[in-house]
């Protein structure tokens, strides 16, 4: 480097003021690109920070307070609301309900979505656009609207009982018994969300190189083997994405619980978020406790997402 060679004193000082590699401006091209990138990200990042992270921090502070309505004081001890949750029988019941939905509904839904996507991806299928639209359409229906339709269908004198009566089945009080109420809710969720997840799988399938499938066929693999050993592994990132989204969505389930069953009978179908709403808005407002509930839901979502990432993400 020229700076290290012996030069007149003035020149050395000139050199020293410059950054190393003095032939480059202080803002290098790489860095300028980086900063441009950040500049574009900044508005969105700030917005997310202001409308998402700030409320999260506020909610956490709120969860350490207790009191009715606006008269809130610091809880004593600070984690009182969290401690209280452990003794709350209704909360435990809602956690149980939510996990029943999660464990039964999410796997069935994802498997069904995967199979449907595979069928609809068949290049020889006719009226493909029609099938795709028909299966996706429920996802465009308002949550409350479809819940009300399901409620009407499964009423004691509703469509389903009328239909079953043709086969000599006695009327079932679908929404009045704990197990059937949960089953109807799960059925509703499946109807509403399977098509939604199918679209992700379809998009994933488009990205799979057909030659890998043809190669497997050439090697004598049957359809199931092709699906299970070739297609599914290549869809892994999409499966992971939908699994995390569905888990997240189910843990935060509210609309169906509210509109379809009102959480009944006797809290047997109430979801955690529905209970949160009850605690905050329907009963004597206890926003501190509600915020603590929200944080428990957040922690559960985070733990489950973490586990799924660990199990599902096999990238090197």
């Amino acid at each position: 480097m020229s700076a290290l060679t012996v030069t007149p004193e003035g020149a050395t000082r000139e050199e020293a003021k410059r950054p190393p590699r003095g032939d480059r401006p202080w803002l290098g091209t790489d860095r300028r690109h980086n900063l441009t990138g950040w500049a574009f990200l900044l508005p969105a990042a700030l917005l997310i920070f202001a409308v998402s992270f700030v409320p999260m921090i506020q909610a956490f502070i709120l969860s350490l307070q207790t009191g009715r309505g606006t008269r809130l004081d610091w809880a004593d001890p600070l984690w009182y609301n969290y401690q209280r949750l452990l003794g709350d029988e209704i909360f435990k019941q809602t956690v149980g309900n939510t996990f029943i939905y999660l464990i039964i509904q999410v796997p069935i839904m994802l498997l069904a979505a995967l199979l449907l996507a595979n069928v609809l991806n068949n290049p020889r299928l006719r009226f493909k656009a029609f099938w795709r639209t028909a299966i996706f359409l429920p996802a465009a229906v308002s949550l409350v609207a479809y819940s009300l339709v399901f409620r009407t269908m499964f009423a004691t004198d509703g469509f389903v009982n009328d239909f079953l009566a043709n086969f000599g089945v006695d009327p079932v009080n679908w929404l009045g018994e704990p197990d059937t109420a949960r089953a109807v809710l799960i059925l509703g969720l499946l109807w509403r969300w399977t098509g939604f997840n199918m679209i992700f799988f379809l998009a994933g399938l488009q990205n799979i190189d057909r030659s890998t499938i043809e190669a497997a066929r050439m090697d004598g693999a049957n359809s199931f083997q092709v699906f299970w050993r070739v297609t599914v592994p290549q869809l892994r990132p999409i499966i992971l994405l939908t699994a995390i989204m569905s888990t997240n969505g189910t843990l935060q389930l509210f609309d169906e619980s509210w509109a379809l069953t009102r959480g009944g009978p006797a809290y047997a179908s109430m979801s955690m978020s529905h209970y949160l709403y009850e605690v905050s808005f329907q009963r004597n407002p206890n926003f501190g406790y509600g915020a603590a509930l929200a944080y428990v839901i957040l922690i559960l979502v985070a733990i489950l997402a973490f586990i799924q990432l660990k199990v599902g993400d096999k990238r090197d």
Partner: protein, 419 residues
Amino acid sequence: MTLPIALIMSGCSGDGGGGGGGNADDNTLTVWTWDPAFNIYAMQEAEKIYAADHPGFKLDIVETPWDDLQTKLTTLAQSQEFGELPDIFLMQNNAFQKNVINYPDLFSEATDAADFSEFPTAVTDYSTVDGVNYGVPFDAGTAIQALRTDVLTEAGYTLADFTDITWDDFLVKAKDVLAKTGKPLLSGQAGSADTIMMMLQSAGASLFDKDGNPTIADNDALKASIDMYTQLVDAGVFTEVNTWDEFIGTFVNGSVAGTIQGVWISGSIQTATDQAGNWGVTNLPKLDIDGGTNYSANGGSSWAISSNANVDLANDFLKSTFAGSTELYDTILPSSGAVANWIPAGDSDVYTQPVDFFGGQAIYADVVKFGADVPSNNTGAYYYEARDAVSAAITKIIGGADPDEALAEAQSTVEFAMG
């Protein structure tokens, strides 16, 4: 996720823009209330009456279902956005204590809005906190037993056989009616405590003691009510359905031959025009325990004046209409079945007129008489929690759980909520 929610929230407060009565012009009041056929209609009639003496007076009525109204109030109080409040809003009597105690900042005192001695105490008690009145009672929730007289005749009974009786009598007769006609006399929503709460109040009992402590466990009146309710359901004379619409449907479509509810149910009964002339109204069966009466109430609502109101105008408006105009009650009674709590209204001729739908019975005069005998109900701030807990307990008891255990559990649920 959060961004759309934030947008929705700001959207909501925008919708509330009808509020802010204080800053609107001096001759307009904004009102939140929920039923176009009932309380909205009553407000519109009140507007006409008041405008006749006060030219230029106008109401801006915003239809707000009760559940939304409660959520809006909570949200506004919580965010201290009192400027979004209307001048006047309607509030369920059972929720009045809770809201005044939790959010006193939402209300203006209504002491000047009526002469409260002209209302039954059982009704003004709902909206009185620490001796101060916060609401002008609107419709009475006085409970009635409405029965299909043609079905009774078919079984060999008359309305008199169901008047001033006990629940035990009722059970025997209702079973007989069911055996002879195939029709149950009662129906209700499964998991709703409506019927139990009416039984309880009829005996002057409640879910709380005077100091506001829950008395769900070891409450003899409650146990007697639940025991009777279970017997009614088991005997098949009380049909349980899941939703309110189904409940209304049971007697409108004629599969159930009666109902016990607040008098406001008479509006729904009269939608069954094919049954005109075949209904009769009498008092409730009573519990065979100390303090049992044949009178009770369910529901009912009162007008509250908000802290954001044009207080003088709102007071004067309510005083000249809902607490001072027989003309108003004469208009709204026949068309909407809104039975007044305001005692002077009961003297009006309109109340003594026979109602054809009810076989020429002057039911509203009867209801006003019932209303005077309704025992006061101790609601308190935790009424809804207690009611929900009891509803859950009833569901479990009907499902076969031990009543004492289920009620003890309900008691601890309420204590937990209060803790």
